[in-house]
């Protein structure tokens, strides 16, 4: 048995190791037809936008990112992305300091609102981004910092 903190530090080491080797386990394992492996391996916003054919992102007040200021546990952090703007093609949720920054992609159809919530893992305190990719090619984002705290008992 290992503690969570050991796992976290190990995962960071392993992530660094895999990065230097240029090896990503998920690429070989992509089974789903529409899964964009390159996007989920991106380490930076430019890499991510390249993988998704997106323009340079611009911060926008029209985009909302939700999440707690402090997460009691990085293993489960509730986050959300939404906008009332018309013409949204896609919404993304990103965690800047995770080994790969992209957490989830939502394709927006006419039948649904551009408003999604999920729960993500965070290895450490980080900025979290909600990104909206618009039909007109613009890429807009909002960001907020979420602090991840160390736990006591059972941590």
């Amino acid at each position: 048995m290992t503690t969570r903190r050991q796992l976290l530090s190990q995962s960071a080491q392993v992530a660094a190791m895999l990065t230097t080797l240029g090896f990503f386990p998920e690429r070989a394992k992509a089974q789903a037809a529409n899964f964009n492996a390159a996007a989920f391996e991106a380490k930076s916003m430019p890499d991510l936008m390249k993988a998704l054919n997106g323009a340079q992102p611009v911060e926008s007040k029209d985009i909302t990112v939700t999440g707690p200021d402090i997460a009691e546990n990085g293993a489960v952090v509730p986050v959300g992305a939404s906008t009332a703007l018309p013409g949204v093609k896609r919404m993304l949720l990103l965690v800047e300091k995770n080994p790969s920054m992209l957490s989830a992609v939502f394709d927006v159809s006419d039948a649904i609102e551009a408003n999604f919530s999920t729960r993500v893992k965070m290895g450490q305190s980080s900025n979290v981004y909600a990104v909206a990719m618009m039909a007109d090619g613009r890429v807009l984002y909002a960001t907020k910092e979420i602090k991840v705290t160390l736990g006591g008992c059972g941590g």
Partner: protein, 103 residues
């Protein structure tokens, strides 16, 4: 076989809020087991949702989505009795599909 999802779909005046819990490990491929061996990555990669048989959402998850994933989205319109179907495919190619009735 994967365990069933928990899907709740509730209609209000103009929209239907859908909340889904999926039973899945969401292994990142970065963790080690007790003996120090890396636990291979294994996670849901694609999620689709249908309203009365018509696809309304397709989403992709990475390994950083938390274990036993939660997803909430909002369907425009929708009324009690409508069918919401949620399906996922994971990195091993396993699939699961469950249906709920809008209340």
């Amino acid at each position: 076989m994967a365990d069933p999802m928990r899907i709740r779909a509730q209609a209000s005046a103009e929209k239907t809020t859908v909340r889904v819990l999926m039973a899945h490990e969401m292994e990142t491929g970065f963790r080690k087991d007790a003996s120090g061996k890396i636990i291979p990555a294994w996670y849901i990669q694609e999620v689709t949702a249908q309203l009365n048989g018509k696809v309304v959402l397709s989403a992709q998850f990475g390994p950083s989505v938390a274990k036993n994933p939660f997803l909430q989205f909002t369907v425009k319109g929708g009324k009690a009795g409508d069918k919401i179907t949620v399906s996922w495919t994971d990195s091993k190619g396993d699939k699961r599909s469950d249906e709920a009735t809008v209340s």
